[in-house]
């Protein structure tokens, strides 16, 4: 493999990440090639010694994705971190997917319930006094407000739960980068 091949495959593997992050990662390997050729080493030998660029790109992508999630807690960073962790190896997906689906379903249920609660509260507060004549107006408005507040706090709880889940996933991802990944690498080298 030539230097250009190696860099191209690395770039392809990192595609989709923020441009500065790709530039940083590629610069590390460009400098490595420069230093190696200054030391009189052959380009192809250096590329071989570096290892598989696709696998290196996956490791870098996971590291960058996890770091982004730790820096900025938003849905896009969360999705990135989750996919980066899943991209580390097929074994992770098989173990994680059922758990992820279950946890995701429960959280989705909480979100839907809280939205419904909020909606019912709103309707009760606004339309209640006109439709239900048996109860005093103030009681209906307060009951509606109470339901809306309940819905809002349920949303907050579900959000805290979601952040906690992604944090757990990130922790799991780091653990696997250290423990599981070497086992997969070993298979590649032996096989």
């Amino acid at each position: 493999m030539t230097r250009q091949n190696f860099i191209d495959r690395l770039r392809a593997g990192l595609a989709g990440l923020p441009t500065p992050a790709i530039a940083d990662a590629v610069a590390d390997y460009e400098t490595h090639f420069d230093d190696a050729s200054a030391a009189g080493r052959d380009e192809a030998a250096v590329a071989a010694a570096l290892g598989d660029p696709d696998r290196l790109a996956r490791e870098l992508r996971a590291e960058i994705g996890l770091r982004r999630w730790e820096a900025e807690r938003n849905p896009s960073a969360a999705a990135n971190a989750v996919f980066a962790v899943l991209g580390l190896g097929a074994i992770d997906i098989l173990i994680l997917l059922p758990i992820l689906l279950w946890v995701g379903g429960v959280l989705l249920g909480f979100y839907i319930a809280s939205v419904a609660l909020f909606g019912v509260g709103g309707v009760l507060m606004v339309a209640g006094p006109f439709v239900i004549h048996a109860a005093p107006v103030l009681a209906l408005v307060l009951a509606g407000l109470g339901l809306m507040a309940g819905g809002a706090s349920l949303t907050a709880l579900a959000t805290i739960g979601s952040v906690g889940c992604i944090n757990a996933l990130v922790w799991y991802g780091r653990l696997h980068m250290r423990l599981l990944k070497p086992a997969l690498d070993a298979q590649g080298i032996v096989g």
Binding site: G51, E63, R67, A183, V190
Partner: protein, 108 residues
Amino acid sequence: MVEAVQVQLKKGVLELCVLALISRADAYGYEIASRLAEGIEMGEGTIYPLMRRLQAEGLVETYLVESTAGPSRKYYRLTKAGAARFDAQKTEWTAFSAAVNAILGGAQ
């Protein structure tokens, strides 16, 4: 199989070796990669994702040094947290390897 165990062992102690190397003197990427590849045969490219992780964990930090030939070079140095981690891991490794050696010696 023996090869697989070797690779796992090497990867496991890689972080410790990198910390040890930088604790002696600040170093740049190629230096670290080639020194380690020399000592414990392994993919040199693995160093860079590892350096990124160590940096993200605040164990190492980087600074640029002007180079006479070509662009400026990125050096890595150990932070206080990195030095503390190195001491802890070194102690752990010494105790662990002593225990393994004692068992290996006893088996002969």
